[in-house]
């Protein structure tokens, strides 16, 4: 199908302000939604659901969270995983300690707790920028998981420190199989992605970008810098918190504070760098890329080795992975800072004019 916007004239600003103003994009989204809701449940194996699709959704949500803060509001953060940990632990505790609380309310409160913690750790951003702010968020990344482990109340005094999450049950329906967990994550992530898109195309989103691009001019326009930055930290951490809760409740089935480490924070940062800084779509692309690449590389290397009759040394694939990741990140930082989302946009612009490039 040709990707054309020619002839699709917008007769009203309302039509122009849709998320997908171009018909082909809307059809594409419908197809994607249909595949995710109907196609995947029909064909996906348990391995695909638990090892690929669920984490992909969870990481997409965390990447959206980081993108709101770093991509839109311009505040670099290395504390993503810490805010995920807060969301997971808080959701677990609300579920544990408040009798009869619906799981979705626990999720929201867990996200809310992460938002509050995020806003507190965002306070340094009022004074410092860039590298120094990243170091301040690094403090959060070390302090929060440490605190969550140290105070055993958070893990309900479990001896091992590993806590099994409660079942996800909504109106008597339990999301217990991989497929059900996938559908639960899919709905949560889709709704929150839509909300994020709505925020960034409204005046709060413009305030975030204004502060990112030129804070003096933003202030002169009347944008309150302090409030705008703290709201960005809070909203971003809310997203990370919900992602953390999903990670625990729909992916692992347990809360493992140790898993929310600096490594995970960096992974999510790489997702937005590769996917596209300042793009909701890019958050998904980056998460998909970083989740799928190791698997594809693994398959390619093993198949290739078998075809050539070679024996791969152990640890080879993980080394190749590191090299490829490193090279890609450097490539995107230097050549295309706006990531896959921008490449996709360029491709669309080309297609739009095809076959007449002028």
């Amino acid at each position: 199908m040709l990707y054309r916007e020619a002839g699709q004239f917008k007769t009203s600003y309302r039509a122009d302000q849709q998320i997908f103003p171009i018909l082909q994009d809307r059809i594409g989204m419908l197809v994607l939604g249909f595949v995710a809701l109907v196609g995947v449940p029909l064909v996906a194996s348990e391995y695909w659901l638990t090892a690929i699709l669920i984490p992909l959704l969870v990481f997409s949500l965390a990447a959206i969270g980081l993108n709101i803060l770093t991509g839109y509001a311009g505040q670099l953060s290395l504390g993503t995983a810490a805010f995920m940990a807060v969301g997971a632990v808080a959701t677990y505790n609300f579920q544990l300690r408040v009798p009869g609380i619906p799981i979705l309310v626990s999720f929201l409160l867990g996200g809310g707790t992460a938002a509050a913690v995020g806003a507190v750790f965002g306070l340094p951003s009022l004074r410092i920028k860039g590298f120094y702010l990243a170091v301040a968020t690094l403090a959060a990344q070390f302090f929060i998981p440490w605190l969550l482990v140290k105070v055993s109340w958070f893990s309900n005094d479990s001896a091992s420190g590993v806590i099994t999450t409660q079942p996800v049950e909504i109106l008597g329906f339990t999301f217990d199989t991989p497929l059900r967990k996938y559908l639960f994550a899919l709905v949560v992530v889709s709704v929150l992605a839509l909300v994020a898109k709505n925020l960034v195309r409204s005046h709060i989103g413009r305030a975030w970008m204004a502060v990112r691009d030129m804070d003096v001019a933003a202030e002169v326009i009347g944008i309150r810098i302090v409030r705008t930055k703290l709201v960005a930290f809070a909203v971003s951490s809310f997203y990370c918190g919900i992602a953390g809760a999903l990670y625990a409740f729909a992916y692992l089935g347990s809360v493992e504070t140790d898993g929310f480490n600096l490594d995970l924070s960096f992974r999510i940062l790489f997702m937005i760098i590769i996917g596209g800084v300042g793009s909701i779509l890019g958050s998904f692309l980056g998460a998909a890329f970083i989740t799928l690449l190791p698997i594809l590389l693994d398959v390619a290397l093993t198949e290739g080795a078998t075809a050539l009759g070679l024996q791969l040394p152990s640890g080879m694939t993980s080394m190749v992975q590191l090299v490829v990741f490193g090279a890609l990140i450097i490539f995107f930082l230097i050549v295309e800072p706006l990531g896959l989302a921008r490449l996709w946009q360029i491709a669309k612009e080309k297609l739009r004019l095809w076959p007449f490039p002028h």
């Binding site: 600003y13 309302r14 302000q17 909300v195 709505n198 925020l199 195309r201 409204s202 005046h203 709060i204 989103g205 413009r206 305030a207 970008m209 204004a210 990112r212 691009d213 030129m214 003096v216 001019a217 933003a218 202030e219 002169v220 326009i221 009347g222 944008i223 309150r224 709201v231 909203v235 300042g278």
Partner: protein, 266 residues
Amino acid sequence: MTHDHNPGRRIGETLLAVENISLAFGGVRALTDISFDVREHEIRAIIGPNGAGKSSMLNCVNGVYRPQQGTIRFAGQTFRHMHPHKAALMGIARTFQNIALFRGMSVLDNIMTGRNLKMRCGLFLQALYVGPNRREELAHREKVEHIIDFLQIESVRKTPVGRLPYGIQKRVELGRALAAEPRLLLLDEPMAGMNIEEKQDMCRFILDVNDEFGTTIVLIEHDMGVVMDISDRVVVLDYGRKIGDGSPDEVRANQDVIDAYLGVAH
């Protein structure tokens, strides 16, 4: 350049009065005891050699800098110093000498951001988008489109401003300031670095804004021809001091001003 602009036609009461403003950065005295006033609907120019303190003066008026001495009276209220947010609320908008657009945003979003202060929907309504927030966005979009038409930048409305040529960026920055529907518009060298044609366009926009909306304008400009042409009254600064104040003709005849411009270059 000639314009059928009629200075003094509907000039009103004093809108802005700065009194005895002094500002220093460490040992550098950027402004020394400056006083002047700006009347409603007037186009008031500030001229002077580089480093004279013109930009610093605008920065004091809208609160980016805090003068050590003096007062600023705006719309009947007196302040020791302004605050940018307060200034914006009271209807002061401005452009910058070095373009200060939001580079990553489109022309449309840049100008929309100029109206952010007028938008009321809270975070929750924005998250929903449909309903009140969409109505608000559309209402403001309509106003912004008028500005885009007025400035003749329809064809680039979706382009990220960072990709536009300099002259167009200057125009977009004017648009962003106009979006706030200001009472007082501060323009810091809006025509610097432009060719004759672009300057003529910009002059026309400034005069039209003044004529149609009655916006009071304070304008810093180096091109004496332009200044003499479009301004009602002129303040002359030199080394942070006021050395002249009056109509273009008066200022042109002022010996101190002639010396500052023709004398030792600085």
